[in-house]
């Protein structure tokens, strides 16, 4: 592929400047992942329906204390986290399905694959797309490492680590003041940190905690489940990191919408990004 190695900002002042921002592997991986993570989340929520309780330690079943539980009373649904409990009737624990029937599964049908309770099918989707995630992530990590993506785009420069720089970036984000001109061609510090944490921390954690729930894998490599403090702890961490990824997704979508969805989505499809006109002030 005869692609430029780094974003190339055409010289001169003729607007609108376009840069080649995302190389093909990034674009392919991005969209495969978008679908894969959605399927893994929804099928994972179906699996969670089979036992909507989370524990710490090696064991945990109905007679044991759960730190999180979704359940139902004769009239309501609830979510309990530790001592804190809220009524979630209509959403969690007790809800009405598309046919108008009341259900007491933890997660409503619109959020699960398939839409009505089926542990076997939920597992089938989950365990298939786990492969797509693991293989895709491995290839993307290798490409990032050897293809220069990590070094050129994600590497956090020394100046960016300064608290003042990070604080200013946080303030700019909070004020919806997005980079313009040439600065928009590069990832800012918050983007770098969030992409690094997704690629190198959260997704590997999902795979490692997922494998730690496999009794076959536990026998072969007991050190992994030990690292997480037991199988039920691994299950809890799997759930928490999944919601970390959901949080990333929500912020990601809001940022794309605010920064110009057409331009942003186009750059993730074709690779080409139109630079927002410079505001004419020091970056």
């Amino acid at each position: 592929m005869a692609a430029p190695e780094i974003p190339v900002v055409p010289s001169g002042t003729a607007p609108p400047a376009r840069v080649y921002r995302h190389r093909l592997p990034t674009r392919i991986w991005h969209w495969i992942n978008a679908i894969t993570l959605l399927i893994l989340l929804m099928s994972g929520l179906m699996i969670f329906n089979a036992h909507p309780r989370l524990y710490w330690g090696e064991y945990g079943a109905n007679p044991d204390p759960a730190w999180l539980a979704i359940g139902s009373t004769p009239k309501t649904g609830y979510l309990r986290v530790g001592e804190w409990r809220i009524e979630t009737t209509g959403v969690l624990g007790r809800w009405t399905d598309a046919a108008g029937d009341e259900q007491t599964w933890a997660i409503p049908g619109w959020a699960t694959i398939p839409t009505s309770y089926n542990l076997a099918d939920g597992r089938r989707w989950h365990l298939f797309f786990a492969w797509v995630l693991a293989i895709g992530l491995t290839l993307y990590m290798l490409w990032s490492l050897f293809g220069g993506h990590l070094r050129k785009n994600l590497h956090v420069r020394r100046a960016e680590w300064s608290p003042r720089h990070i604080w200013r970036d946080i303030r700019d984000h909070a004020r919806l003041r997005f980079p313009a001109g040439e600065a928009a061609a590069r990832y800012n510090i918050l983007q770098k940190l969030s992409y690094i944490s997704v690629i190198f921390i959260m997704l590997p954690l999902m795979i490692a905690t997922g494998l730690s729930m496999s009794p076959g894998f536990n026998a072969a490599a007991p050190w992994l489940v030990d690292l997480f403090g037991g199988r039920q702890s691994a299950r809890s961490i799997h759930f928490l990191v999944a919601f970390g990824l959901v949080a990333f997704f929500l912020v990601h979508i809001v940022m794309v919408l605010l920064a110009g969805p057409v331009n942003e989505v186009r750059s993730m499809v074709t690779g080409w990004f139109r630079l927002p006109p410079d505001r004419g002030e020091g970056a």
């Binding site: 036992h51 598309a98 076997a120 099918d121 597992r123 989707w125 298939f128 919806l176 003041r177």
Partner: protein
């Protein structure tokens, strides 16, 4: 002037876009049609096959499941599956303390066996404290005592054509008695035992009395309870609908439950 790039109207328009996306939610019902398509199910089941083959290829086939200490035991061991088999025959056995219970070893063996609990208890025993992982997600740790399946199969003499071991059970669920199966790697594994005791007590009915399988590197539904028969076969094609187990045949649970 440049502080906020997006004018309010633009923000509202974009919020409208979000709402439109939410309108696409009914499309999710289409997911169920995809879920039920035979071609999709076939592709998805490849994931299971890949897990089985990668675990068999990349990990030690004889690796032992972690054994715990008595300090790690679950205070209450939650039963899985059937808690009380239906029918007068089982009730009569239970009333007699399973004194007449027999388990057979048949199929592709040189010397079929029929053993009482006393016969089994007279053989060398193995005790192991292991974690039981249910397909639903919960786990419980218990102490199991019983006879290694490999000993029974050695006593019966497995024939060369035998590839799988099928487990027959006394608990009827709907239209059939429960059944399960495993390959010879798990059947001959040192921790695969026919357990008659849980936590140093005679096995309770809810946990599979008088005899249940422990197959420690697989999920709970593989651990057949209320065992009546052990059958060596060359293929699973003629067992149930051919997928090797009660739930495998009925709801497509994975036959390889190591994941």
């Amino acid at each position: 002037m440049n502080g906020i790039i997006l004018p309010r109207r633009q923000l509202i328009a974009r919020a409208g876009g979000l709402a439109a996306a939410a309108g696409a939610l009914p499309l999710l019902a289409g997911c169920d049609a995809i879920n039920d398509a035979p071609a999709v199910r076939k592709i998805l089941s490849m994931g299971e096959v890949m897990h089985q083959h990668s675990q068999r290829a990349l990990t030690d086939r004889n690796a032992l499941a972690r054994e715990f200490t008595r300090a790690d035991l679950s205070p209450v061991f939650r039963p899985n599956g059937t808690r009380l088999p239906e029918g007068a025959a089982y009730a009569a056995h239970a009333a007699r303390g399973f004194a007449d219970w027999r388990v057979t070893v048949s199929g592709l063996v040189n010397k079929p066996l029929s053993l009482s609990l006393a016969d089994l208890r007279a053989m060398p025993q193995r005790t192991q404290i292991t974690r039981h992982d249910c397909v639903e997600g919960w786990s419980a740790i218990g102490e199991w005592t019983g006879v290694q399946l490999s000993r029974l199969l050695a006593a019966a003499g497995l024939r060369d054509r035998a590839r799988f071991i099928v487990f027959r059970c006394a608990d009827r669920i709907g239209d059939a008695n429960y059944y399960e199966s495993c390959d010879l790697i798990d059947a001959l594994h040192p921790q695969t035992i026919l357990a008659w005791a849980l936590n140093r007590q005679v096995l309770p009915i809810a946990n599979g009395a008088p005899l249940r399988l422990r197959i420690e590197r697989q999920l709970g539904y593989k651990h057949a309870k209320y065992l009546t028969g052990i059958e060596a076969v060359a293929s699973l094609d003629s067992i149930g609908s051919g997928k090797g187990g009660y739930w495998e045949d009925r709801v497509d649970y994975e036959w390889y439950a190591g994941i």
